[in-house]
Symmetry: D2
Subunit: 283 residues, 4 copies
């Protein structure tokens, strides 16, 4: 089923559902699915509304212009997505393959609806994976001195491939605020700990030393603040004194790939609304 | 916040959301929350719509008559609930106290919004719990011969206390189809296994013998078919070869009380729609 | 089955199992259960060995003296427990009842093997619970000025009742290092967050503000460092944008009581060995 | 660390630990790890003992002969494994790739210690996966008439490759009792349901129709009785009314691969003892 999906938010007010549903109903749209959330603590309203694309009797531009007028009168923040637009996703990796494989396999199984036109790494180790799936691979090594040039080269690749989303699938370098600003599109990172615990480096080693009984992983949008961006998905697994730091890494890999692919799926299905530093993830 | 909650279902069709939302919007209601589900496999549409009771400008009867006309034209099946109507719930128990305590404590903490005017048991063992919480307790022993008389006595108590929901909080007798028909209101049971595995008696012993690695519990509405009614909630816990049948019982108690109170809460919050032998539980 | 349980640890070395097992075998003991753990990262060896008390042909003192000699030659750190010694546990609470009830109910069900001769609180709110279970209740209010006197009064009660373990069942005051030193016995606390995330006050509010997708609880031994003591047990539950700070508190209560009673059970069953700031919890 | 691992079981008796540990201690072995389990309900004793292979001063044959004498006197059932013996595992598949990929990737990451010299399928669909990992692939189609010949061909491949374990990684045909007897070595199957619920065909469809709130998967040793063999590992995921049968399949794939690889890992690490129709899985 081809769908048009609107994601809407604003300060909470009376009558928003009937009002917005009415807009689409009046234009002949069948509402396939509508999810709402009112955060009464923060006083904000969120909506995801999915329409049948077959009901679109105008151009997409005309629909968007029409809705712009409607939304402006009501101070709605909104985005629209068309399910037949397959987004181009760049995968940035370093040396570990588990998240990369998981995304490539789920794309191959058509669980993740996206294209992956390019894989970029600061190390050559995972070129063989790119070859297994016949995807262009670019190795762009980086150190603290070469970082500006390397980021410029990464950016050039992203632009050349018309990348709309970057997934940091265990890319172990921090992207500069300048890079984030110039790229402009969303970036999803997988952090190998249950944030806000163990922000920063070596979380599994620190988890081992603290003697925690669960370890976790967190997928979040990247912002200028390290490991502080809006959380999309988290999960944990039980561990015990039996597990060495290496065991925690191994168990963590399973969590990381599961969490990252769930977050990516939610993003690709237009189920995520970001509100300041938090997310609404419709399920 | 006092709410009016409509639960609606029908065969799926175009425009139901805008249509129903419009009905309430036209009558001056703010829609506090609206959840829908379309089962595209079964072709059915489900809706839970919560209105601000302060917007009610007519009597409840008038609202219901008004909606009856609207619903009849559209073949809607529906019920309406008012959050200021606190339902009367009878607790039926046998000898084990964990589910009984859990419900009484959650009611005391105001997590469960209901009254519990009567506790009925086929054994005297739990009278002390009823006394701790100052609730009338009736011991009505039963054997296969006395079952019709005992059920008649139970029914009489339910009617006398205007009971609208019965919770079988580990009541270890099967209620007769005749009893179910005469009572007419919903009955929630907790089965101490992950249905449809281990239907019937002694599920923990059978789980032990089969060597399963997880055990569970299931809360469901009671129907004429034993352990076959619509499932409201289920959960499991990990077990291992280390656990004896007694350990499974102990671990199971935690699952049972958690599952039963979640199911009861969903029911009391009007979040459950039954469709033939399945439930839609809005969360 | 009455058991004698030895908990042993030392730097790892060859032959410890056969050596220690041999000690007891030579003295006619049947080893009912023996669990070991080698932390090869830290180079430490841990053992829990359970003996049949019926095989004890000497006095307990004689056994302990005998083992002392054996252990000293091998630099073993060890403790011994006798399962027929039922420990006396004081419960310290403030205003919320869920953890208190859970412990009292599990004791009543004989899932927790301990006595609870006294409940102490800095507020009068939970006296009714103590009355339901006919346990002496002492209300000892405290503010920053009266803290030394209050702690002295608490200590006096603990000594008078021969308390061997204190459980802080949502006691919302920090105990002073002086109190800890003078009491000398273990104290278990339940922290209402997944440590090390959200140490300190108001963890649920901070979890809401950070937009985490799981919330948790942590049971740990109390040390001078706030929320930094050895972790015994942790668990989490999934939450979402739907949940208000109040919902997180409610969901958290279930986690807290489950985590605290698991930790308490492990302690009472002599399954916990503390090694610097971590625990080995045999399951 | 190279290890020698003994798995031992017998009727429970006094002194087994000290006796067996003594056997190895007397022959100069350091016991790296020893796990035991007493099933007091069934009256059976189980042990896994791991020795340092560097301590082996005789041939393996001599050790085994020595232990045979010791074991015969005590009626021990036992097996021995050497960690430097990498077992050869055949993967049988049909059309779905997720379990196959998971095993191949974990082998590549050295999480699973085995060789996979051959992949056999009754369909050609997954040949491309075998090619990605450069493993010989044999397509042996089968129907009810050709089954004896096909099974003979499968068996011939297993023998030619000296296969010691078969993993049915979503192989959708039932192996005949004759095949099982002639192969003689263990076979691990992944069943796409939480056994004993939904034995047999189409479990996800039946789970959907029953309206269960959790779905699961079960890894078990194959026996003559369909889906009745000893369970090694199980797990579940939460589902709801939202999920179509196709969603259940997709969610199930994640569970299946996780459960199967955990079971395979336990088997390869010699942590599983089978006792009649149950398993002891040391963790």
């Amino acid at each position: 089923m081809r769908e048009i999906i609107f994601l809407v938010q604003r300060a909470d007010a009376k009558g928003l559902l009937a009002d917005i549903a009415g807009f689409f109903y009046d234009r002949g749209f069948n509402i396939l699915d509508c999810r709402q959330h009112t955060d009464s603590y923060a006083g904000r309203y969120f909506m995801r509304i999915a329409l049948d694309m077959n009901d679109l009797s105008t151009s997409r531009n005309a629909l968007e212009n029409d809705f712009t007028g409607f939304a402006d009168e009501r101070d709605l923040e909104w985005t629209v997505r068309y399910s037949d637009h397959i987004r181009k996703v760049a995968l940035l990796v370093s040396k570990t393959s588990h998240c990369l494989y998981d995304i490539l396999l789920k794309r191959q199984e058509e669980e993740l609806h996206c294209e992956t036109p390019v894989i970029i790494s600061n190390h050559p180790d995972l070129e063989f994976v790119a070859e297994q799936f016949e995807i262009p691979f670019h190795c762009l090594p980086v150190n603290s001195e070469s970082k500006p040039e390397q980021e410029a080269a990464v950016l050039e690749l992203l632009l050349r491939h018309h990348i709309e989303l970057v997934v940091l699938a265990r890319y172990m370098r921090i992207l500069s605020p300048n890079f984030l600003r110039r790229f402009g599109n969303p970036i999803i990172n997988i952090h190998h700990a249950f944030l806000p615990a163990f922000q920063g480096a070596n979380p599994y080693k620190r988890a081992y030393e603290r003697g925690v009984k669960l370890i976790g992983a967190t997928a979040h949008y990247v912002t200028d603040e390290l490991d502080e961006g809006p959380i999309i998905e988290q999960d944990v697994e039980r561990v015990s004194h039996r597990h060495s730091p290496e065991d925690l890494k191994r168990i963590g890999r399973e969590i990381e790939r599961r969490v990252l692919s769930k977050a990516l799926q939610a993003h690709l299905e237009h189920r995520v609304i970001v509100d300041s530093n938090k997310t609404v993830v419709f399920d």
